[in-house]
Structure formats: C-alpha cells, structure tokens
C-alpha cells in the first residue's frame, strides 16, 4: 500500500473522533454543574474540576485544549461564586504545567502521579488565595484554602481511577477502528 494515500476518514469515524475529543470536557461540565447545584456543595466544584483538567492534559491533551480549559474555567468561576477570573487563571496555569510535564508524568506510577497532583492542588489553592486577596484588597481566612487543597488532593484517586477506565476504553475504540 506504499504510495497510496490513506482514504479520508468516513463521516462516522469523524463523528466518533469528535465525540471522543468532546467527552472529557462534557464530563467536567456535568460534574461541575452537579456539584454546584443539587448537592448544595459549591466547594466541591473546583475540587472536582482540577483533577479532570490535569488528568486529561497529561493523558489526552487533544481532548483538553486550552480553549476548552478556558470555557471550563469561566463556567467554574460563575458556578463556584469565586471572583471572576481566578478559577480561570488557575485552571489555565495547571493545564499549561501539566502539558509541559506530561511526558515525564505519564510515565510515573500512580503514587508518584498522586504526589505530583498534590503539588498541583496546593499550588492551585495558594494561587486562588493570593488572587482573591489581591482582588478583594483584603486577606481572606486561610482555612477554606487549606480545606480546598486537601479536598482536591483527596478526590484525585477516585477520579483518576474512573477517568483511567474511560481513557482505556477510548484507546481500545481507537485501536479497533
């Protein structure tokens, strides 16, 4: 088959690929809305979003593009009643860092990945704290930021487990296609 150009992908294939690329973002949106609304725990929204953004940035960056992260961040700020832009900036920076280190991180075992993510969680909470202090011209209490960091670090393993399953399913679908 050398020299023969590959036939263009069929419509169904393209729709499938599009769905695979959209799924992570949609999952993040749904969990965010579910966390912000009916559970009555808006605190959960940022804690649930950061792991997903970081996970997909490491393992499937094509499905978690910067514009998608931007939209997620905007939605997060609106839902979580944070100062507009702070969650947005945090998610974008986390995404950028994860993208830069993804070759290194993707090779690590789960425990090291979790440790690295703990760094992400602490950094995100610290950034959020600093940003809200700057935007409000006042020092907010430290407790919520610490709780947020701990919560984010704690929810990472189950989320990573679930998303790992989804990722494996996607890989299998791509291989058989």
């Amino acid at each position: 088959m050398i020299g023969v150009p590959e036939p263009p992908p069929s419509l169904l294939r393209r729709v499938e690929a599009l769905a695979r690329n959209l799924l992570p973002g949609l999952l993040a949106v749904v969990t965010m809305i579910a966390a912000a609304g009916p559970t009555g725990l808006p605190v959960l929204a940022p804690a649930l979003t950061l792991p997903q953004v970081v996970f997909w940035s490491i393992y499937r960056p094509a499905a978690m593009s910067p514009p998608a992260v931007f939209l997620l961040g905007l939605l997060l700020d609106l839902l979580a009643l944070a100062p507009l832009g702070s969650g947005l900036l945090t998610l974008l920076l986390a995404h950028g860092l994860a993208l830069r280190w993804r070759r290194f991180l993707a090779r690590q075992g789960f425990l090291l990945l979790w440790l690295a993510f703990c760094g992400f969680a602490v950094g995100a909470a610290a950034l959020g704290y600093v940003l809200s202090a700057l935007l409000d011209f006042a020092l907010p209490p430290l407790g919520p930021a610490l709780q947020l960091a701990a919560l984010t670090a704690c929810v990472f393993p189950p989320i990573a487990l679930l998303l790992g399953r989804v990722h494996a399913l996607m890989l299998r679908a791509e291989e058989t296609a």
Partner: protein, 287 residues
C-alpha cells in the same frame, strides 16, 4: 477553513495558551471593574441551568434523606438488640410464672380447694345523691330488664361503695358505707383480725369492736369479711387511718362523694337486710 502551513499552525497552537492566560487576566480585571457583569452572567447561567437542577433535585433529595436516615437505622439496630434481650428476660419470667401456676394447681388439688365462681356484675349509672331515710345514699337508674335484689353489693372502679337497700322498677337505692346506719364486717388484711366498720355520716367510717390485742395498724388495708354471710371475703374497702382524737377510721378507696358508675355484684348472699326485708332473701339461681 484556512489552509495554514504546519510551522505556522504549531506557532499558533503554542501561542493559544499565553493568549488565553492574558484573556483570563483581562476577565479578572473586567470582573473587578464591573461587578454587576459577573452577577448578570451568573443569573443568566442559573436561569439556563434551572431545568437541569430541577431534574437533579429529586434524586439528590433522596440521597440526602437516606443519609439523614442512617443514624436512625443504627438506632434501630440498637433498639432491636435491647428488645431481644428484654424478650429473653421476659421469657424467663414467663417460665417462672408458668411453673408457679402449675405448682399452685397441684397444691389446690392436694387441699381440695373449692375455687370461687367468678362473680357476675352489672354496671349502672348513679343519677342522684338522694337521701330518703338515709343521710348517705345514692340512687341508681336501672334499665327495665335489669333484675336487682336487695343485698347486692356495689363497688366502683376502686373499691367498696355500699349495699342495695331498696329496689324499684327503674331505680335502686344504695346505702353507702359512710352512712350512720351502715355496719360492715371487715378484716384487717395484715393481722387477719376482724372488726366492724361503722358509718358516721362523715367521710371516714370508724372501726369498732376489734379483738383484744389486735389494734389496727396505721395504713393497713381493710377488706370485707365473710362473717355474717352478707359479703364475700376480700373486697377492698380502704386503709386504716387514725384521726386526731386517736380513733381508728377507714379511708375509703371508693370516691363516695363523686360516684358516676357503680358495679352491682351478685354474690348470692343475703345476710341481714334492712327491716322491710324480714322475709328471707330470695335465693339466687345456682350456677
């Protein structure tokens, strides 16, 4: 769609993130500069998401209620354990009671004990605190089909009230134990000593004629005595109280000053009846 060269595309895609970070800073400043903007955007978003929330609200509420029920479920387990333990204890008591009952039956057989027939009674309403010849008597209304004899004994729900002295077609008069003409043979339950309870027209009848050396004790229960064949033994009357002047009196169990309903017992006993009943009391049909 534009066809871009690969290096240009790569450069663009590398630029996306910094540009978006810059836009994020811009958003921050915008949100700071116009606080209303963020509010308006939030309201718009909430409006758009309202149906979604509504769809989620029901299962979320169910989950929350289940979580709220958890402590109760734990308490139910505890309660169950307690009840099971109590049941065990009660079962032991029940077996003890059954054993005692069997033993009792055995002893009765040995003693040739003749059990008393359960007395039958009819309940009638007190309609008047009528005196008539007596100072302390009540009138009761009788349904036409209710046969009442003189000498029947009246009790309220607590204890002895008096005896039937006159019977009409629709009413009967009961001589209360507190009336001056009332003489009731009694037994002091603690010492088994006999005595007479004599009415004084006051609230507490007096105790008289007890045997030498069997002084009624304060608080001792007083029950009817079978002597004189007017009463069965053991109907509760009251407790012994000593008055300020040192005479033994009986504080009645029955509330004689506010009688509503009395139970008329027929024990088939006549004894000594008031003068107009000189003839022997008609014998009660043997059961």
């Amino acid at each position: 769609m534009f066809r871009l060269s690969i290096p240009l595309r790569q450069a663009l895609s590398r630029l996306t993130l910094p540009v978006l970070v810059a836009v994020a800073f811009g958003t921050m400043l915008l949100g700071k500069a116009d606080a209303l903007l963020a509010e308006r955007a939030r309201v718009l978003l909430a409006d758009a998401l309202a149906p979604f929330y509504a769809a989620f609200a029901e299962p979320a509420r169910a989950v929350r209620e289940t979580i709220a029920d958890l402590p109760e479920l734990l308490a139910i387990r505890e309660e169950n354990a307690r009840l099971r333990e109590e049941n065990e204890r009660l079962r032991r008591w029940q077996s003890a009671a059954l054993a005692l009952e069997a033993e009792n039956a055995l002893l009765r057989r040995q003693l040739n004990f003749v059990p008393e027939a359960a007395p039958s009674f009819r309940t009638a309403r007190v309609v008047a605190d009528a005196g008539g010849v007596y100072a302390r008597a009540v009138l009761i209304a009788l349904p036409p089909d209710l046969a009442v004899r003189r000498g029947q004994i009246a009790l309220d729900e607590r204890g002895f009230v008096g005896r039937v002295t006159e019977v009409g077609t629709r009413s009967a008069r009961i001589l209360l134990a507190t009336d001056m003409n009332s003489r009731i043979p009694v037994t002091l339950e603690g010492s088994r000593a006999r005595a007479m309870m004599v009415g004084t027209n006051g609230p507490r009848p007096r105790l008289q004629f007890w045997a030498e050396g069997t002084r009624p004790a304060e608080g001792e229960r007083v029950v009817t005595s079978a002597e004189g064949v007017a009463f069965p033994a053991g109907l509760p009357i009251g407790v012994v109280r000593y008055s300020a002047s040192g005479s033994a009196e009986v504080e009645m169990f029955a509330l004689l000053d506010r009688l509503d309903l009395v139970r008329l017992f027929d024990f088939g006993l006549g004894g000594i009846l008031p003068p107009e009943a000189v003839a022997r009391p008609e014998p009660r049909a043997r059961r």
